[in-house]
Amino acid sequence: MATGTDRFVGAGMIGFSLIVFIYYTLWVIVLPFVEKDHAIQQLFLPRAYAVIIPIVAGIVLLFILTIGFCLIMSKNKDRKKTK
């Protein structure tokens, strides 16, 4: 088996993805079939956010990747110039 920190990080990743999957599945698929005044509706944001949050997160991710890519390209060019 892998050593200490590796197992912890791996387990953390699996746990996080499980939590996201369960919450999101309940939100998108189960909640529409639950009556409006059931207690569990309090735990979830309005359903519009179920689409908005992933799209915004995706755009932010693309943004970060683009900036990272531009930084790396410019560092490469600087190094080629001073050589």
Binding site: M1, F21, R47
Partner: protein, 92 residues
């Protein structure tokens, strides 16, 4: 036909079916309740795929054994290569 093309075509077919179902342009209608579940479906499938990817990476991280012998031999080869290149005039 490549795998990428297969997946792209499958994804396109799914999107077309999805679009016709939520805009009532298919030859059968779906109830409003089912429509409410259907509308976020593409984003939902994307999120599920992302969760699956993260979980499989996490599982791989958890089950990959340390290879101490391979680590040592790799370090040795790297230092040999660095010395060799330094002798031949490259700066590191």
């Amino acid at each position: 036909m490549t795998k990428l093309l297969e997946w792209l075509i499958g994804g396109l077919v799914f999107l077309v079916v999805w679009a016709t179902l939520i805009t009532d342009t298919a030859f059968f209608q779906v109830s409003d309740q089912i429509k409410e579940v259907f509308i976020p479906l593409p984003v939902y499938l994307l999120i599920v795929f992302a969760c699956y990817s993260l979980a499989s990476v996490g599982y791989g991280v958890m089950t990959f054994n340390d290879c101490i012998e391979a680590h040592r031999s790799l370090k040795k080869e790297v230092s040999e290569a660095v010395d060799d290149l330094k002798r031949k005039g490259m700066t590191m």
